[in-house]
């Protein structure tokens, strides 16, 4: 397994390089122009000058090379400088956003906390409620609990977050006034009062996202448990006199986790990618909102950098999933 992991990690480098090229070409090919949000009152010749100042006059190869150097050479130096107080990166050009004219990575770092708080928390909550629901639904298939769980999760998944989010705001912010409808990203948690405020403003977005995530994961958990509950080994285990709890939670669960691990691993990069719609609805302004505004403004360096970071996470977590398969089912071999 170790050699496999190392081989995959080494192989990930050319894969990611290739992905970055494809993303870059895709963005170049996509219609759109960073001047789209500049009002029509600004004459075309001025817009042309602005494009040139953004470096759009360069050829595609030059633009890509610049991004590669900035991302893989200059940005790590900046990171190094920040940690050790050195000055390697001074005066070197970093990856600059076209909208804000500031380093993309600084904004990403600024956005990470609220995305992790809200989207990350909702994912953890979603997984934590999905697993028991999925397990119990399968164990008591077609019971009332199962039917109810099926109903809620299917409705939860099929009703989009742009609807549930606004609905919750109308009920709980406008109607009852319990929770704020707009997330305050400047809130600093340093005492009990501010912690309560933070919890209050997180409730609605976390609930919306957790419902959505839990719906999906619980379905896979249930289906996979059902596949295993009727297996002969379960009968054997029961015949051996093992307790029901051990049979279900140790034997069956472990064998049922492979699809669930896949789904969870696929979801983690999306946590960092933020939840585009929910972040917009609640004004969380995390990485998802950053990406969508960058796409709308055709801010290519920002979109390229963000999607590339997601790509790294995707490759990484899919590798983690593959390694976990081997641990869950030792018969799976890759060599």
């Amino acid at each position: 397994m170790l050699t496999y992991t190392i081989r995959r990690l080494v192989l990930a480098v050319p894969t990611l390089l290739f992905i970055s090229v494809v993303i870059f070409l895709l963005l170049q090919l996509a219609p759109g122009d960073p001047m789209a949000q500049v009002p029509l009152t600004v004459p075309p010749e001025v817009k042309q000058k602005m494009r040139e100042a953004l470096g759009l006059g360069d050829s595609v190869y030059v633009q890509f090379w610049k991004w590669l150097v900035q991302f893989f050479w200059v940005e790590p130096q900046v990171l190094f400088d920040n940690i050790f107080g050195t000055h390697f990166a001074d005066g070197k050009l970093r990856v600059l956003s076209w909208q804000t004219r500031s380093p993309v990575m600084d904004i990403v770092v600024q956005r990470l906390p609220q995305t992790l708080w809200v989207v990350g928390m909702s994912y953890v909550v979603g997984v934590l409620i999905a697993l028991p629901i999925g397990i119990y639904s399968a164990y008591r298939q077609y019971s009332i609990f199962d039917q109810l769980g099926t109903f809620i999760s299917m409705v939860g998944f099929s009703v989009p977050t742009f609807f549930t989010g606004v609905l919750l705001i109308v009920i709980f912010s406008v109607g009852l006034g319990w929770f704020p409808s707009i997330y305050d990203t400047t809130l600093q948690v340093n005492d009990w009062a501010s912690f309560k405020l933070q919890i209050r403003q997180m409730v609605l977005p976390v609930f919306v996202l957790a419902l959505y995530n839990a719906a999906q994961i619980s379905r896979f958990m249930r289906a996979s448990m059902l596949d295993n509950l009727n297996q002969d080994y379960v009968r054997t285990a029961r015949a051996k006199g093992l307790g029901e709890r051990v049979v279900v939670l140790v034997h069956v669960l472990r064998n049922s986790l492979i699809p669930v691990v896949t789904v969870i691993a696929l979801g983690v990069p999306q946590v960092f990618g933020g939840a585009i719609i929910t972040e917009q609805v609640f004004k969380v302004n995390g990485l998802g909102q950053l990406l969508i505004t960058a796409i709308e403004a055709n801010d290519l360096p920002m979109v390229q950098t963000l999607t590339f970071i997601f790509a790294v996470l995707i490759v990484l977590f899919n590798l983690v999933a593959d390694v976990l398969y081997g641990i869950l089912d030792p018969r799976i071999r890759y060599d």
């Binding site: 609807f163 109308v170 896979f220 289906a223 002969d232 790509a311 899919n318």
Partner: protein, 354 residues
């Protein structure tokens, strides 16, 4: 842990005349064929399926939905794009129920007199321009159901194909999974915009504007949503192919094609079914996002996703405008979910006959 034989595909108990599986050969060699007339395995599956209450209920609801949206417009012939400006923002006739017990019945007779902006000309109300909601729901259903199902099928076929191939053939695993990583990493919106840019005009020219856009949308949703299914199926296949029954099948010389179609695929049906139900919901919603980008159907073409999105702002005044498309989408997804449950159970030989 003792993993015994996984449920082994439908062929373990029923041997069909049409498929000379190696099993049949081995059984024939071992002794005379059982005297009872051989039943088709698919007959068994079907019988089991029809005995599944959830599946039957799901099936009935689904067929009703399809009938309503495709046959309904023949009965309710109002043009979904016709603007009846005087009826704008009228409420559904059911709003009468909220007027109170004493006025309720007279209200159904004459809603205007009860001070309600509603009429039998628009039983489900009308939108902000006065377009009939019932007609729009039916027209929208035609598009949403067709797009949802077609896109889901495409994404499932792609996902299962890549998943099985990657899981089963070790040589293909690397390249296929790296391709999956690539597709997962591509930013969706620019990808869709590029597809429109490249293919909208050629497709419209080849198939006419509406079919052209339909194909474009289905393909766009299909090829951007197959990756999770592929990864899930692959994970299951990786585990399955090390099981004893696969080893047993291989030992009697089962070919790869047979192995996949008879032993591997039936055992990954349940995650595929879950992906299918989630996929329909996903496709219907994605379609509305596409039309928002200007990538989908023309703006006066209603779909459930778009009806839902457009009426969010009117949630407080005309709640039925969000409830109707929301319920329609949920009902579709629920019915497909129960159908999937029934199919899964029917394909499980252990449950059959219980």
């Amino acid at each position: 842990m003792t993993d015994d034989t996984q449920k082994q595909g439908p062929d373990a108990t029923a041997v069909t005349e049409t498929t000379p599986a190696p099993y049949a050969a081995s059984l024939a060699a071992a002794g005379p064929i059982p005297s009872a007339p051989p039943r088709s395995q698919w007959f068994d599956v079907w019988r089991q399926f029809t005995h599944h209450k959830g599946a039957m209920l799901g099936g009935v609801v689904f067929i009703l939905m399809v009938l309503t949206v495709f046959v309904g417009p023949l009965l309710w012939t109002v043009d979904p794009t016709f603007i009846d400006i005087r009826a704008r923002n009228s409420k559904a006739i059911t709003a009468c129920l909220l007027t109170g017990l004493d006025t309720m019945f007279s209200c159904f007779g004459d809603p205007k007199a009860a001070g309600l902006k509603a009429s039998w000309a628009h039983p489900l109300g009308a939108d902000q321009l006065g377009r009939d909601t019932l007609a729009r729901m039916m027209a929208g259903g035609q598009t949403s159901l067709s797009v949802g199902i077609a896109a889901m099928m495409l994404s499932l076929i792609l996902g299962s194909l890549f998943g099985v191939l990657a899981g089963y053939f070790r040589k293909l695993d690397g390249p296929l999974m790296r391709m999956t990583d690539l597709f997962l990493a591509l930013p969706l919106l620019p990808l869709l915009l590029v597809m429109v840019l490249l293919f909208r005009e050629p497709l419209s020219a080849a198939f006419g504007p509406e079919t052209g856009i339909f194909i474009l949308i289905v393909v766009a949703i299909g090829i951007t949503s197959w990756m999770p299914a592929a990864r899930i199926v692959r994970g299951d296949v990786l585990a399955l192919k090390e099981r004893e029954f696969v080893l047993a099948a291989r030992s009697i010389g089962t070919t790869n094609t047979k192995m996949i179609s008879r032993h591997i695929l039936p055992n990954v049906v349940s995650p595929i079914m879950v992906s299918a139900t989630l996929g329909i919901a996903n496709a219907i919603i994605t379609e509305s996002a596409l039309s928002f980008l200007g990538l989908g159907f023309p703006p006066d073409f209603p779909t459930w996703g778009r009806l839902l999105f457009d009426s969010i702002d009117y949630m407080q005044q005309n709640p039925e405008r969000v409830i109707l498309p929301g319920v329609a989408i949920s009902l579709t997804v629920l019915s497909v979910n129960y159908l999937g449950d029934g199919l899964r159970d029917a394909l499980d030989p252990r449950l059959r006959g219980r």
